[in-house]
């Protein structure tokens, strides 16, 4: 099974939010058209979450999305096996036919990467429906495509020839909250190669 992951290079990111808006328009076009927000995050209906943090008194932005954990708490917490690892893509995925909207996965995620849909009352997460289609067709997710600073990438970490693997090798990287044992795949680049 592949181990797909996102890479976000914070040394390149210019915080233009193009990725956030692209995710919104591509994956939740109806919400974008109607101006419906994500009430849980008080933010756009997007799978990318924006954290405003302070480092040494200076404001900084941190962009996160589903970390595609190898040891995902959301998969373990799900009482109906609706959250699962898709054997075809290797992604943590939601089977909406099985999901009953108990919100256990939303509570369980230490990255706050899932949000409840205000209409269906089902959880949403990265990758959204449009991005899943793009992956199936060999394309990259919309957030990667629209990034003007080349701060994003997506690919299989187990494939040494993939662009994401190359960037990981050439950069100083961290994974968020590794101490929790969730084994997040997503990579944050501190200093690019």
């Amino acid at each position: 099974m592949a181990r797909p992951a996102h890479l976000w290079d914070m040394s390149r990111c210019v915080a233009c939010m193009a990725c956030v808006i692209a995710c919104n328009t591509a994956n939740f076009p109806e919400y974008m058209r109607r101006g419906n927000p994500n009430p849980q995050w008080s933010w756009l209906a997007s799978n990318i979450r924006v954290w405003w943090i302070s480092v040494g008194g200076r404001p900084r932005v941190l962009l996160t999305q589903c970390m595609q954990c190898d040891n995902a708490p959301c998969v373990k917490a799900c009482p109906t096996k609706a959250s699962y690892y898709d054997p075809k893509t290797g992604l943590v995925t939601i089977d909406y036919r099985l999901c009953i909207g108990c919100k256990a996965c939303v509570v369980a995620c230490p990255y706050g990467a899932r949000w409840m849909d205000p209409e269906s009352h089902m959880p949403n997460k990265c990758l959204g429906p449009e991005c899943e289609r793009r992956i199936e067709n060999g394309l990259k997710p919309v957030c990667v495509t629209v990034c003007p600073a080349n701060a994003r990438d997506f690919g299989d970490l187990d494939d040494p020839e993939s662009s994401i693997s190359r960037r990981v090798r050439e950069s100083t990287t961290i994974r968020l909250r590794e101490e929790l044992g969730t084994k997040p795949r997503n990579v944050v680049v501190l200093r690019g190669g």
Binding site: A77, P79, K81, I100, G112, P118, L180
Partner: protein, 379 residues
Amino acid sequence: MRGLLLATLLIALVIGFAIALYGYMVKEVHVIPWGLVVVGYTFFALVATGSSIVNSLFTVFHYRGPDGILEKVIKYGVWFSLASIVPAWILILLDLAKPLEGFFRITFSLALESRIYWMAVLYALFGIFLALELIYMIRSEVSERLKSLKILELILASLVLLVTVLVHSNLGQVYGTMISVPGWFGAHLAPLFIASAVLIGASGQAIYISLYKWRDAMVKSATTILYSWVYVLVTLLYTFLLGWVIITSWYSMAWISWSEIVRGAFALEFWVVEVLVGVVVVLALAIYAIARRSFTAMILASIAVFLAGFASKYSLIIYHQLITLSPSSFPMRSNYTPGSDEILMLVGAVIVYIALLLVGTLILPLEYGEKPRRLWIFR
């Protein structure tokens, strides 16, 4: 008069259910995933299972209590436990996006790693065993053969107790396994939930039985002693466990939310409601009730335990979700006020609960030695 009362209660049952259903239909998404509805669910689950543990003092351990009171009111106690689980089920199902298929999807998913999967299985077993126990108790009043099968009674009662303890522990660990909420994470919530459940369950049972039989001087006197002793002993145990949880949180990330509860934004509520009312007032009233055989003091202590029990569950479930860590380990904070949808669901479930409890009390033969006359299932 009795028929009129029954009709009124049945109408209240329907109205309560309609209110809860309306709350579900206008449901909104809130800042925290598990809000007031989950608090209500947890509270009633603890009322049901906690009172079941009190029942087991007689059914499993054969402790009859002062003046043999437990034996005399045991059917009321078992019915109280059974009726109390209903609002918990209503609330947890209404909190789902798909309540109708929710229970079955969970039960047959075999998602063994999920605590919520085990909750569904254990709730089903709890309801079945408790119903069987009540049916056995009622039927054995008319069947000598059944009455002589003491081993069957003990097996049923032991199964109820076993499942009850498992329900408590597992419910505590639904929260305790959430690595995302530092204030919850750990094995400490299971014992805390058991102690809390016994307190809340005993208080609910005391209010129900004592007020229903307030004309019976023997029941009043005996329940005063029995429940007051339960409050004194279990409040001391609960206080120790809570103190232990707070002190150990000092050494972990859990302190980010516990510190807000103990000395931050939620401190007033914690010290006034949970500590002053839930511990100091309860202990004072319970000790006074034992010393002076004061029924009024016991009832006041029961009300204090009941209210503080709800407040402590609200605090435990809501506040720890409000103060967590961002993915970069920075403390983050949100604000939450229960929505009208959540309040409607809770109010509806409470109305259903009270109406159901009283309907059962009216139609079931719950008196000591009372033979079943009405319902075919018991004859």
